[in-house]
């Protein structure tokens, strides 16, 4: 190793660089002090931007750097230009994007729009019908469509009316007629069409001018991803989720505009910051929710108005039930986990589902379980199994495991009187109709005969719709 300092510089006690005076002055005094105080050093001088040893640039002409090993000098510069990174939220938006039509798909001849009567007639079981455009907008507003559903490969959003669909619609209709509330949980295996059945129920509600309130994902309320605050004066303490509620009010307003615009308030709401006199249109009340701060108050007022006597029937729906049937991820001020049923909005749904808050104008409270994304909720599972066994009048109703601790009494209580609709695979006739629709859209490139239907139906685990889609549509064997 060569000496870091030039001998000449060491001999005379002066800054190692023979600099012109004006440069010396310009240089920071600290650097000079270092040069003065430590002329001897065992480390190689590390000059800023110096090319190498002995270079006579302005920083240090006489400072010789040691022999340096330059690693990877033959490597190419690997920092390739990757283009513009996606903006914040762009990736999520792409992931959650919902495409409802595809102009490359062929229009299906003879496809008719749904009418309110279509969904009630048992003759229409195993038919594919398209959703009217107005209803599509409403469904989109309440986020009834899911990104996992295959809307984006067809020309127009259409759906298969299953036997279960017709059955459920008739039950909803019957309940509304008798001013009763249908409280029902849709359950079943993965991708058997539970969310789709909820969507069909919402379609039915929109077609019949019901009021629809939809919580698209129960998960959004309990995974501590939205703001929350304790409701002042509540005992026991309940928590409101203002931002979410604001979004919900806006969704309700947008989706139910047709119905709400005809209605006006029947109660005075003195607690609201904005004065809304009795008889003012409901849209005005809904529109008054502009910011999250008073969203919960306005939501309560809106809820009171919507559940007042003489209103149209209401559908309250929620997907992903197991997320709200557990202890949430939120924390109380004492840093204890908050039970999901202590969140005010969740509580509203659970009470409606449990029968505590019945709708005076009739309607339905529907919940769908999710199998792809569902935390363990043993109480919910057990309750649903028990209800199912009770409905089927089975001899042995499943009993709770006496030595298992994970049961939740509140969940048991909430699901004590619900009805359960268990979805499984579709019949072969329904499968045939569905596959004919696929083929007519130009997506399924086979002749839809009995053998093809039978093949896909079997591949799809005895007609599980999602699995059939996977087997027929989502493979790249076009």
């Amino acid at each position: 190793m060569s000496a870091p300092n030039c001998l000449r510089c060491l001999l005379q006690l002066r800054p190692s660089v023979a600099l012109p005076r004006h440069l010396l002055v310009a240089r920071s005094t600290a650097a000079i002090a270092i040069a003065w105080t430590a002329p001897f050093s065992t480390t190689t001088a590390n000059n800023a931007k110096t090319g190498g040893g002995g270079s006579k640039d302005k920083t240090g002409g006489h400072i010789r750097a040691g022999k340096k090993i330059k690693l990877g000098k033959f490597k190419k510069n690997t920092t390739a230009d990757r283009g513009k990174a996606p903006a914040p939220g762009e990736r999520k938006a792409f992931r959650k994007k919902i495409l409802l039509s595809n102009n490359n798909a062929l229009p299906v001849p003879g496809l008719v729009d749904l009418t309110p009567e279509h969904m009630l007639d048992p003759q229409n079981a195993a038919t594919v019908l398209s959703i009217p455009d107005a209803v599509v907008d409403q469904l989109r507003a309440v986020e009834a469509f899911k990104p996992t559903q295959c809307w984006g490969v067809f020309r127009k959003p259409s759906m298969l009316l299953r036997t279960e669909t017709i059955d459920l619609m008739n039950r909803m209709k019957g309940a509304a007629k008798q001013k009763q509330t249908l409280r029902l949980v849709v359950t079943g295996d993965r991708i058997t069409g539970k969310s789709m059945l909820l969507l069909q129920a919402m379609t039915h509600a929109f077609l019949n001018d019901w009021i629809v309130v939809n919580i698209p994902e129960g998960q959004e309320l309990t995974t501590a991803s939205t703001e929350y605050a304790a409701i002042p004066g509540s005992d026991p303490v309940r928590y409101m989720q203002q931002t979410y509620v604001l979004k919900l009010i806006q969704a309700i307003r947008k989706a139910n505009e047709k119905v709400l615009s005809k209605l006006s308030t029947v109660q005075s709401h003195p607690e609201l910051p904005q004065h809304i006199p009795v008889g003012s249109p409901l849209m005005q009340l809904a529109n008054s929710a502009k910011e999250a701060d008073n969203a919960w108050m306005i939501f309560q007022a809106l809820w009171q108005e919507l559940t007042a006597r003489g209103r149209p029937p209401m559908l309250f729906a929620l997907d992903g039930l197991s997320h709200i049937m557990k202890v949430s991820d939120y924390r109380s001020p004492a840093f204890e986990l908050i039970h999901a049923h202590d969140l005010a909005l969740v509580r509203l749904f659970v009470e409606s589902l449990g029968g505590a808050g019945a709708f005076p104008n009739g309607g339905a409270v529907l919940a769908a379980t999710s199998r792809g994304n569902s935390p363990r909720a043993p109480s919910m599972e057990l309750a649903l199994q028990q209800r199912e066994a009770e409905q089927a009048k089975a001899a042995d109703v499943p009993q709770p495991d006496p030595f298992f601790r994970g049961y939740d009494e509140r969940v048991q209580a909430a699901l004590r009187t619900v009805q359960v609709l268990k979805l499984s695979g579709i019949s072969k006739l329904e499968a045939r109709v569905l596959m004919e629709y696929w083929a007519a859209s130009g997506i399924l490139r086979t002749t839809v005969d009995e053998s093809a239907v039978s093949e896909k139906w079997t591949l799809g685990g005895n007609g599980v719709v999602g699995e059939m889609e996977r087997a027929a549509l989502l493979t790249m064997r076009l």
């Binding site: 062929l106 030595f403 083929a439």
Partner: protein
């Protein structure tokens, strides 16, 4: 650098006082005195690895009958030593008298005995001389490796050498195998038939014999597990118990109850003998039955705990899925019907074909496009004469 052997060799020579202390009697007999003198003759050096023990100033030194022996030269016989000893003026009177008496005895001894003693002393000296010679390590030696260890306890050299007078150990092993086989053959032929006298016909257990014991034997060999006794019984077989009592018995059995087989299985090996362990188990079952019959607490608030047991579900091929001749016919009928339906649709035009559908769709818009092809026309009609007047692009 002295080796261990060398130090041992040096340690053999005890100090004179130690040798003297070997004499315990007040009046040493002549042979003992002679031995002392011989030891003095053997003495060559005062070097010892043992710590020197200094004679105490007090009574020990004054003790009568104890000769203070200091050897400064080699003596050919005990007489020489005693004469030399008597010449000393440091010895006490008693010692002097004793020494004088011993010298008298020596002189009275026959000449040939004296000669033998002298010869013995000479022999000992000559034979011990090479041993006593100090071993000088050689100059070029490495760790004194060439030193011969003379103090080996056994002479192992050649112990394992095969002397060509025996068969190999493998042969011995083979012979042993033959012997064993023949022994068992003898047992088979002569002793086993006698066992048939003890044979009993199998009698299935009656309804009263509900306990099933299992014992372990290692054919007479001692084994820590041969004392173990296992008992199994089904609570349902205990007919004296009601259903509630049977349930309580199952709860009492805890993890020893197998809910799948409905069997309680217990074992005992705490006692030394099999019979004791069996007795213990019998007593335990008696107590359990007595407790189960006790109506004070029927454990109704405690559910039967089966957490210890893993229920294994063995999937079985369903009977309905079996391919019977009937089922074959049924399937054939279904297929025929499906084929008939498809044919009807094919002729009637109700069959949807994805490929055909795409082809139709691809053909249709082209036809439509051909019809609706916009015709580009100049305003004011075409003027062919002007076309040539357009300036050509320069090359």
């Amino acid at each position: 650098m002295a080796s261990t052997a060398n130090s041992l060799r040096l340690g053999l020579r005890g100090s004179s006082s130690q040798i003297a202390r070997l004499q315990t009697g007040t009046r040493p007999s002549p042979p003992a005195a002679v031995a002392v003198a011989l030891a003095a003759a053997l003495r060559r050096r005062c070097l010892s690895t043992m710590p020197p023990r200094w004679a105490a100033d007090g009574k020990d030194a004054e003790a009568p009958g104890e000769l203070e022996l200091e050897f400064s030269r080699n003596y050919a016989n005990p007489g020489e030593f005693l004469a030399d000893y008597l010449r000393k003026d440091t010895i006490t009177r008693a010692e002097r008298q004793q020494a004088a008496r011993m010298l008298e005895q020596w002189k009275e001894a026959p000449a040939e005995l004296q000669g033998q003693y002298e010869q013995l002393a000479r022999n000992v000296y000559t034979q011990a001389a090479p041993l006593k010679r100090p071993v000088q390590p050689r100059k070029n030696s490495f760790w004194n490796a060439e030193e011969k260890d003379t103090d080996l306890i056994t002479d192992e050299v050649g112990e394992d050498d095969f002397e060509e007078d025996d068969i190999l150990s493998m042969g011995h092993g083979k012979l042993e195998e033959h012997r064993e086989a023949r022994e068992y053959s003898r047992v088979t032929v002569w002793e086993m038939p006698l066992l048939s006298k003890f044979a009993k016909p199998f009698v299935p257990p009656t309804g009263d014999e509900v306990l099933r014991f299992r014992y372990t034997t290692y054919m007479g060999e001692f084994h820590p597990a041969d004392r173990k006794v296992v008992v199994e019984f089904c609570p349902k077989d205990l007919r004296s118990l009601t259903d509630a009592q049977q349930l309580k018995l199952k709860k009492l059995a805890g993890p020893r109850y197998n809910p799948e087989k409905d069997i309680i299985k217990m074992s005992c090996e705490i006692h030394e003998h099999q019979a004791q362990n069996k007795r213990h188990l019998g007593d335990m079952i008696d107590r359990m039955i007595a407790t189960a019959k006790d109506p004070t607490d029927m454990f109704e608030d405690i559910p039967l705990d089966t957490r210890h047991h893993t229920f294994t579900v063995k999937p079985k091929f369903p009977k309905e899925w079996r391919m019977t001749e009937e089922r074959r016919k049924e399937l054939e009928a279904i297929r025929q019907e499906a084929f008939r339906l498809d044919e009807a649709r094919r002729t009637g035009g109700g069959l949807v074909d994805g490929v055909v559908r795409i082809q139709e769709a691809l053909a249709a818009p082209q036809a439509a496009a051909a019809e609706l092809q916009p015709v580009m026309a100049r305003r004011g009609g075409a003027r062919p004469g002007k076309q040539n007047a357009r300036p050509q692009p320069r090359r």
